[in-house]
């Protein structure tokens, strides 16, 4: 689990580095600002088919209470296929920035797993 978290941290760092000054639209804060929490709740119902509130020690993690910026970074990484997993690449691949921001807002407000 520690290794997994470290890999995610590394990927996030790489992703942040990968987005150049010209790609300001991909800035996490800007994307979160585009979000609508009600829309995020609707879109998030798709995530709930797999992401259990309590999460798992391996496999599919809980995304309840996830920091909004981390959420956006991860989704951008899946969208650009920097992170592997065909299901997540497919899910993120059809989300625009407003939708990612909406999901980030919604999940960040939920109670994290105990």
């Amino acid at each position: 689990m520690k290794i997994l978290l470290f890999v995610i941290f590394l990927l996030i760092s790489v992703c942040k580095f990968a987005f150049s000054e010209e790609q300001q639209i991909s800035d996490e804060q800007e994307i979160i600002a585009m979000g609508d929490i009600e829309y995020g709740e609707y879109l998030g119902s798709e995530c709930a088919a797999c992401h259990h509130q309590s999460g798992a020690s391996e496999g599919i993690p809980s995304i309840h209470g996830m920091d909004a910026e981390v959420f956006v970074t991860l989704m951008l990484a899946y969208r650009s296929k920097l992170m592997e997993n065909p299901v997540m690449q497919m899910i993120a691949g059809r989300l625009n920035n407003e939708q990612i921001g909406s999901l980030a807002l919604y999940f960040s407000k939920l109670e994290p797993p105990k």
Binding site: E38, Y42, E46, A48, A49, C50, A56, I60, V87, M90
Partner: protein, 422 residues
């Protein structure tokens, strides 16, 4: 009434009425009423989301005959000996107690669309403003000569989970050493496209341990099947020489089954089985026909909402619907239910209605830690639900990826069942 007190009010009602009352005798005032028929992946999800997201603003009744629901998905995993039967069973207390859904354990026998009324087996009626029909499938026993409900215990279909799956597992475990198991998959369209082939994989896995000289013959009414390349490669790798898939092009069609001699007659040959699984053709569950929302065997829907094309107050979810490119799967039904729930709440309470978006993923276990998956996202076209993007496991996936897929499928099972029942 405040949201909270209204919620408690409904919760109390629901808890009191689980399995006992057809509908509450206390006046419900002006609350809009939704009735959901069928407590599977489509119906349970729809009931849960409408109740949860309306915060007590909609009175939701779920009509489901079974008090305990055994999922069809993962029933093959049970067949392979990877889970016990109890682990695929779920009850409706979460929906009643946590979400305030009025759960009624009865059969819905007819629908009067003009009066907007559902009639139950007890003779009681339940009025609705919006009706969700999510009955799953019925089997067309007469689609195969010689097969019938009368012989289904001798040659289980086991395609609606429940005791049929337990029966099939017993027959697999007790098949004579070196005997032949015959699998007859259904013709298209049917519930769970990769299901028959995952089932064969799981039976082969069991035979490898308890009956290593046992054989499996698949008499397919189709010339090809879902994830075919992945399954065939997996069978070759894990069960060499054990499984023979015979396409309809080769056997020329299944002419007759003799249940007493366990013989399967085709143009090519007559096959004698020591145990068998026969899955006939399928159609929408009977209540969909009774509601008049079918066109032939299945129910056409409006792609943007899952409303029936025959009646705007009736929504049809899951296997019973004509969702075109979306497969008939629990994942699909769960996805469709959320679109319908959002649409229904909008119609009844004025809440915001968002664009329909659908997705599906099907995992199939071939052998321990060798799991493959296929999935797609979909959009509502004018006439049909259309594929937006899709993926499938690759033949050269690493063993780590295949093992991770299996772990992912277990997590998905926990996720979707919580999404249906909690």
């Amino acid at each position: 009434m405040s949201k909270i007190s209204r919620r408690l009010f409904n919760t109390g009602l629901a808890a009191a009425s689980v399995g006992t009352l057809a509908f509450p005798s206390i006046s419900l005032g002006a609350l809009p009423r939704v009735v959901v028929i069928g407590g599977g992946a489509g119906g349970a999800t729809a009931a849960r989301y409408i109740a949860k997201d309306s915060n007590g603003g909609v009175h939701v009744t779920l009509v489901e005959a079974s008090k305990r629901y055994y999922t069809c998905f993962f029933s093959n995993i049970y067949l392979g000996g990877f889970r016990n039967y109890g682990s695929i069973g779920h009850n409706y207390y979460g929906l009643a107690v946590n979400q305030g859904v009025n759960v009624v354990h009865e059969w819905a026998v007819s629908v009067d669309p003009a009066a907007r009324m559902v009639k139950l087996g007890s003779g009681n009626t339940i009025p609705y403003d919006k009706l969700v029909v999510s009955p799953g499938i019925d089997l067309k026993y007469d689609s195969i000569n010689g097969y019938s409900a009368g012989v289904q215990d001798k040659m289980p279909h086991a395609w609606k989970s429940g005791t049929q799956v337990q029966l099939l597992r017993n027959q697999v475990m007790n098949m004579k050493q070196g005997g032949t198991f015959v699998m007859v998959p259904p013709p298209n369209p049917y519930r769970c496209p990769p299901g028959p082939y995952e089932r064969v994989s799981m039976i082969a896995h069991q035979f490898k341990q308890s009956n290593p000289t046992g054989k499996i013959v698949i008499l397919d009414p189709k010339p090809k099947f879902s994830k075919q390349g992945l399954f065939e490669a997996g069978w070759q790798k894990h069960y060499p020489g054990m499984i023979e898939w015979i396409s309809s092009d080769t056997h020329g069609g299944l002419k007759n089954i003799n249940a007493s001699t366990m013989e399967f007659e085709t143009d090519l040959d007559t096959f004698k089985a020591d145990a068998a699984c026969v899955v006939p053709a399928q159609k929408a569950g009977a209540i969909a026909m009774a509601a008049g929302v079918n066109d032939g065997d299945w129910c056409p829907i409006v792609p943007a909402s899952m409303q029936s094309k025959a009646d705007e107050n009736i929504y049809v979810l899951g296997d019973a619907s004509v969702a075109k490119s979306m497969p008939k799967s629990g994942f699909s039904a769960n996805s469709q239910a959320k679109v319908a729930a959002n649409h229904i709440r909008g119609a009844l309470t004025g809440s915001k209605v968002f664009d329909a978006r659908y997705s599906n993923t099907c995992w199939s276990l071939i052998a321990p830690d060798d799991d493959v998956k296929v999935g797609a996202s979909y959009v509502a076209g004018a006439e049909a639900i259309d594929v937006e993007s899709k993926f499938i496991s690759q033949a050269d996936d690493s063993s780590e990826t295949r093992a991770a897929n299996y772990q992912e499928s277990i997590d998905w099972y926990n996720g979707i069942t919580a999404d249906m029942f909690s």
